[in-house]
Symmetry: C2
Subunit: 436 residues, 2 copies
C-alpha cells in the first residue's frame, strides 16, 4: 500500500504540468491498484497564481488529455459528415464500445433478466438508479455488501444517475433551495433530503464506474426564469459534487441543462466546462418536448462539449432517437423502453414494432424478428411468446425484454460498423425504411 | 418407410410369444425410426383361445419385458432393505435417471425459467398440464406448431397429465357420468367436456413422451361408496384410453386410485394390470390426507404394481415425501412446490426452509445454501435475493425457483447415489437431521 499515485486537484488541474520532482512517481503510479485507503494529502505546490494538491491517489485528469488510471476514452472513427463517432471507453470493469446503449437496472436488476442473459444480449454497461437504491435496500447496505457490481453480480461497467431526476418526477412534497432538495419517499412517505454532497456520497457507496452530478431538471415547458435558475443551480451543484468526490476510481460526469434554449445550453456548458469533467451528459431532454426539438437542441449543445470526452444523452430513448443522437455526436444512451415495452408484449424488430397479443400471431411459427440472432429469436416462436402473454406467464416479459435489449445492442453494433465505414447516414435511412 | 416393426395388440399381449414367422422382422424392427404413418395392420395370428394383431408399427411391449422401441426402463440397483431403486427410463427425448423429480410447467413453461435454466438446474423431465393447455393455447395450436417439445423448446422428456385432476379441482359446474365429465372452464366459463378418448387425443396432440389415462380422483374423505365408484370408473376409463391410443411414440400410464383403502387400491390395481400399461401412477394421494396415511398407502399399493415398470406418485411433494416415496419404491414425482415456494420467497436448503423476507437476511452475504452449487448460490447473496423480493422485482421469484428446482434435483441425484451404495435409509436419516 506504499503507493506512488498522484492526483491534481480538479479545481486547479486545467493548466498544470506534472511537477518535475514527482515525475518518477508519476510514471510508476499507473501500475498500482486503486484503493480508497491510499488517499493521503502530500503537499501543496505553488505554480504562479495557481496551486495544486498532490495526493497519494491517482491521476484523475491532466489538461486536455483526459486520462484516469483504469479509465480512458479513445475515438476510433468520426464521421466527417455528421459528427457520429465510434470510441472505446475503458473503465475499471471493462471496455464499452461507443456509441453504447445502457439497459436500465433501476433497483440493481434489469427487470426479469439475469446478468448472464444481459451479457448474452450484448449489453456492455448498465445503469442503476440512485434514488431507488437509496430507498431500497439503501446505499449503506449495498456498500456493506461490497458495492453494486458484487451486489447484483454484474462484472461490467455500471453508471448511476444522481437521483435528482427521480426526486423531481417521483417523490412528493418536494422543496428545493440552493442547498438541497427535501422530499418524501414515494414508498413510505418518509422525509428525505438530497444535496450534491449526499448524491456523490451515495454514489460512492454504490460504487458505479461512472457517477453523475446532482442536477435540477425542470419541466420542458417551465418559464425561462425557472429554466435559468435551474441551469445556475445545476452549475453550482456540479462544483459542489466535484468538491465532494472522494473516490478516485469513479468518473464523475457533469450534466448540461437548459431545456431547448440555445442560450441556456450555452450558459450551462460555460458553467460546467471549467470544472473539467471527464464526461458530460445532456439532461432535460426526452421530457415531453417534440423529437425535432430534441434533435435541434442536440445540434447546438453537443458542439459545446469537449470532443475528447464521452457524451451521454440521458433517458433516451426510442431507436430512432438513438440514431439521431448518434448522428449528432452522442456516445451513451439509456432508457427503460426495451424492458418496459417487453413487459407489455411489444417487441422491437427490424420491420418495426410488433404487438404480440395480436390474434394474428396465434399460430405464427416464425421468430419475433427474422433478422435477429438473439437467444429468444433462435429458440421461440411468436405463437409461443404470444401464448405466454395471453396466459399471464412470467416467461413472456422475460423473453421479450431479452430480445428487445438484444435488438438495441445489435442496432448499436451495426451502427458502429456503419460509422467506421463512413455510412452513418445511410444506416439511419435504411433503418427508417425498414421499420416503416 | 418400408418398415418392419411389429406391435402386439395390448389387449392380447400379456402371454404371447412372438410368432416364429415374424422373428426376422422382430429383430430388425428396433432399428427403424418411429413414424406414425407406418401404422398398418398386417394379419391376425391365432394362438389357442387368444389372438394378436401384428402391425407394421413398433414393439409396444412384450410379456414382462416392457420394451418399446425408443422407450425402455432398466433397473440398475434395488435396495434390498427398502425397495428403493435406481433406474434409467429411456424415452424418444432422452434418458431419465430414476428416481426423478419433474418440475411442473403447467402452461408449457415452468414459471419464470427458460428451458436452458431448467436444464442447468438439473431437470431431466418436465410435466405439463393437459387441462390448462387444452384451454390455452389449445392442443390444436400446440399440434400445429409441432407439439409441446418444439412449442416450448424443451428437448428433454415431457409427461402430460390427463387433465382429470384439474377438472375435479379447478373447473366449476362439474357433471360426471360413466361416459365423460362436463365442466365449465375456470377462465371464461365456457362449457367443455373430457372423456377418456378426448384426454388421449389431446395428449397425442400435445405429444409428450408419457401420457396419462383419464381417472377420477375423489376427495380424500369421500365415502367408501364414492371411492369404490371412482375406482371402477377409473378402471373402465383406463381401458377406453388404452383403446383410444393411436400414437406409438408415447407411453400411456395407468393410474391406481382408491384413497387410503387397501382393498380399494387392490381393486384398482387388479382392474388395471390386465391392461398391461408400460407404467403405473399412484393417484389420489397428497390430496389432504395425513403424510403417514400416504406413506402407509404406498406401502401396500406399490407392491401391487409390476416391479419392472416405472411407478409415478402424482403431485408429490415435499422433499420428505419424496424421500419416503422413494424408500417405498416410487420412481417418478412432480410437484409445484419448488417453484410456487420460490415465487413466495421460500427457499429449500440443506439446513431446512429459509424465508427470505426475514429482516435477518438484510445484509447476509452468504448464499442461500452453502452446500449448493447451483448458479444462484454461486452468484447471489441472501441479501441481494431478499432485496429483490422486498422491492417486488421479478428476478427474485426467478432465482429462487431456479435454486429450489436445483435443490430438488440435487437431492434426487444424491439419493440415487445413496441407493446404489445401499445407503438409502441412512440418506433419509441424514437429510432429516440436517433440515431440522
Amino acid at each position: 500500500m506504499g503507493c506512488g499515485l498522484l492526483v491534481f486537484h480538479p479545481k486547479f488541474s486545467s493548466s498544470i504540468e506534472p511537477p518535475p520532482s514527482v515525475n518518477d512517481r508519476w510514471t510508476s503510479c499507473l501500475e498500482f491498484p486503486l484503493e480508497e485507503s491510499v488517499v493521503e494529502e502530500l503537499s501543496w505546490i505553488q505554480d504562479g497564481t495557481r496551486s495544486v494538491t498532490v495526493l497519494l491517489v491517482t491521476v484523475r485528469f491532466f489538461r486536455e488529455n483526459f486520462s484516469v488510471s483504469a479509465f480512458s476514452f479513445h475515438l476510433d472513427a468520426v464521421d466527417p459528415r455528421t459528427g457520429a463517432r465510434v470510441g472505446r471507453l475503458e473503465t475499471p470493469h471493462g471496455v464499452v464500445e461507443t456509441p453504447a446503449f445502457m439497459p436500465v437496472g433501476t433497483l440493481a436488476t434489469v427487470k426479469g433478466l439475469t446478468p448472464e442473459q444481459l451479457q448474452r444480449a450484448g449489453a456492455q454497461m448498465l445503469l442503476a438508479n440512485t434514488y431507488h437504491l437509496a430507498l431500497r435496500p439503501t446505499s449503506d447496505v449495498v456498500a456493506e455488501l461490497g458495492g453494486l457490481h458484487k451486489f447484483m453480480n454484474w462484472d461490467g461497467p455500471i453508471l448511476t444517475d444522481s437521483g435528482g431526476f427521480q426526486v423531481f418526477s417521483l417523490a412528493s412534497s418536494r422543496k428545493i433551495d440552493d442547498d438541497k432538495v427535501v422530499f418524501r419517499s414515494h414508498i413510505d412517505g418518509s422525509l428525505l433530503e438530497l444535496s450534491p454532497e449526499r448524491a456523490v456520497l451515495i454514489q460512492e457507496q454504490l460504487g458505479a464506474d461512472i457517477i453523475m452530478c446532482l442536477d435540477e431538471c425542470p419541466a420542458h415547458d417551465a418559464s425561462p426564469e425557472k429554466m435559468t435558475a435551474a441551469v445556475n443551480r445545476t452549475t453550482h451543484w456540479a462544483a459542489r459534487c466535484r468538491e465532494a468526490q472522494k473516490r478516485t476510481d469513479q468518473l464523475l460526469f457533469g450534466i448540461v441543462q437548459g431545456g431547448t434554449s440555445k442560450s441556456l445550453r450555452e450558459l450551462s456548458a460555460k458553467g460546467l466546462l471549467p470544472l473539467n469533467f471527464p464526461g458530460y451528459a445532456v439532461g432535460g431532454l426526452s421530457v415531453g418536448e417534440e423529437p425535432s426539438a430534441m434533435y435541434t437542441t442536440l445540434e447546438f449543445t453537443i458542439p459545446l462539449l469537449p470532443s475528447d470526452r464521452p457524451r451521454y444523452l440521458m433517458g433516451v430513448g426510442r431507436p430512432i432517437d438513438i440514431l439521431e443522437g448518434v448522428l449528432r455526436g452522442v456516445d451513451l444512451f439509456d432508457c427503460v423502453m426495451p424492458t418496459r415495452n417487453g413487459r407489455n408484449a411489444m417487441a422491437f424488430t427490424s420491420q418495426g414494432g410488433l404487438k404480440l397479443r395480436n390474434l394474428k400471431y396465434r399460430t405464427d411459427p416464425s421468430p419475433l424478428d427474422p433478422d435477429c440472432d438473439c437467444q429468444v429469436c433462435r429458440q421461440f416462436s411468436r405463437a409461443y411468446l404470444r401464448h405466454l402473454f395471453i396466459a399471464g406467464e412470467m416467461l413472456g416479459p422475460i423473453l421479450l425484454s431479452w430480445h428487445n435489449i438484444a435488438y438495441y445492442q445489435r442496432m448499436l453494433r451495426d451502427l458502429r460498423d456503419a460509422i467506421r465505414q463512413g455510412k452513418a447516414t445511410e444506416f439511419r435511412e435504411a433503418q427508417m425504411r425498414r421499420s416503416k
